[in-house]
Every structure is written in structure tokens, then in C-alpha cells.
Point group: C2
Chain length 192, copies 2
Amino acid sequence: MLTGPKRTVYFTTGNKNKYLEAARIATTFQVKLKHLNWEKLEIQSQSLTEIASFAAKQAAQSTRKVVVAEDAGFFVQGLGGFPGPYSSYVFDTVGTAGILKLMRNVKSRGASFQAAVAYCEPNKRPICFTGTVRGSLASRPRGLHGFGYDPIFVPRQGDGRTFAQMSMNEKNLSSHRAKAFTKFCKWFASNR
Amino acid sequence: MLTGPKRTVYFTTGNKNKYLEAARIATTFQVKLKHLNWEKLEIQSQSLTEIASFAAKQAAQSTRKVVVAEDAGFFVQGLGGFPGPYSSYVFDTVGTAGILKLMRNVKSRGASFQAAVAYCEPNKRPICFTGTVRGSLASRPRGLHGFGYDPIFVPRQGDGRTFAQMSMNEKNLSSHRAKAFTKFCKWFASNR
């Protein structure tokens, strides 16, 4: 347990937009979140928690700072969770068109966006917080906002629009990443 | 450069069969290869060389031994190299059936198996050796031998049979892994 005045937490990500989204949430909990422009180490694992934990631990050890690292993925039930932790790579190679092609004649249309945020102090074990948005696959891409799999994902708690048919602000309010960061900030604000 | 009598090299792999295949090759070059049952660290990268190098370096540092680590993947040209470094995960989720589904209406049928073997001494930089087998995708799975993508891969230098239609011995003679290990052993035998 840290003592004394509130400590700054460094978010290790190469993606400035992810930092800005997280910082906006942190502010509402009076958590001071700074951007650590550090090339985080991503291991191969089927567990987002494991990937984020490893990255946070490695960054905390190397920089001697208190850090958070995040990992996220898109999980399609009918495809055994694919593309999961490798969502970026799969998006860059076969894309949303590939996902829809794989889904031909597959009945189950369930899908989810998941995120894990790992908090780590130097020489300590990481602590993880997760967020999930459940929904289903659209039959064809719809919408122009967002990125990645947003055009083919319809959140369950919504009006049938895909993530890409919502403004970034609207999507971020209930995103997997926002959920995980909110859990972390609540915990941090009351424990640290 | 190591001096004195020939040093033992430790192959870090959780897969006993990979070790046996590599040891068979090493023996023909009088290289002493031992099995290091060590859970190697696999990073996310699109480069097999980078993945194998990181694993070898991490194992060499942690165990203070002279090690080799290997990484391999199946690369489909018409899918932007997919599944590449994530071949195991993709095989476990969407499988060969998924690859063939993605290939519907894709003209280019080129594919390759690739392997990277990284050698590392403690406190040194890793040195890499690669092996590639070029070929094409079969229109449907054929053969019962081997594993993974073997039933849908037809090597270019062959008689039209898939890898899975060859005995393990026949396949191993010209496999990507054998090529990479042969390069390493030649180098090691003449330099160390």
C-alpha cells in the first residue's frame, strides 16, 4: 500500500487516443494519469489479463514508475473466441470481411469486446481490472465512426446500431475500455 | 566467440518432438543439443525472427546457458500472410476449414511454412537462422500424417502430395524447421 499524497499513475501505451480516453475517466475520479510513451512488451497468450499484467510488470520494473497497461480484443463466440488477443493482427490481414466470411453458415452470432487494465508498482504483483461489452455480429458492416471491428459489432444494450454508427463519445461512454478503467480508478481512488 | 572444447547448446521448447527432430539434425553435425524444458516467452510480433530472438535471449539470461529457441508459422499470400506467427492460435480456433473458407474467391493460392532458429549466449545478442518451404494451398484437406496445416499445404518441390500425405520422416527431411536448424548447426560447427 502506498502512503502519503496521491501518486501519479503512468499509462504505458503507444496510442495517444487510448491515453486521452483513459485520462478523461481518471479525471472524474481525481486520479492523476500521465502518458508513458513506452513500447510495451506484448506476450502471446489467450488471456488479455495475462498480456496486460506482463506489460505492466515489465514497464514498472524498467521505468521504476507506478504504471497501468491495457490490452483489448474482439471475441466471436461462433469462432472459438477468434480473433481475441490477436484482433489487431487479424484486422490488418483478413479484416472485418474475413470475419464475416468465416461466419457464413455459423449460427451463433454472439460477440464481445473485452479489455483488461493491469496496475503495477515496481517489485509488486500486477492487479487487474476487466471490462466487457456483449453483443452480436452485424450481417454486414454499418457506420463510419470508430475503427477496427466497430462496423460489425452491435452492442446488446443499444438500439440496434453498430459501434461505428455511434459517435466516438457515445461509444466511449459504455466501452469495454471505459468499463475496465472505471473499475481501476474507483479502486485506486479508494485504496491509494 | 567461445573457446575451448565444443559447448553444449540447450534447445528451449516445451515440445519434445521438436527437440527430437532438431537433435537428429544436430547429431549429423556433431553438435551436442540438449533439451531445456523451459516455458519460453513468446512475444507478439509479425516477425518470427524477433519472436525466436526474444525467447532465446530471455532463456539465456535466466538460465545462464547457451540456448536456441525456435518459432514457426504458416503464411498464406492471399491473406496478407495470415495466420503467420499466430498459426497455433488460429488453428485452435478456426482451423484449416477456416483458412479454406477465407480463401473462397481468392485467386492467389501461394503459401509457405517458415521457421526461425535463434541462438543466444548469456549477455550476448541472438543470432538467427531461417528456413522456408514454399508451396500452395490444396483445395481440400488431404492426408492423415503430421499436424496443423499439413493437410492443406502442397510443397512446390514435390509430386503434388500435401505434407500430410507424406510420412513424418519424409516431410522432416525438407521441412522449414529442418532447414533452419541445418543452417544453425553448420554455422555452429564451424564457428564454435
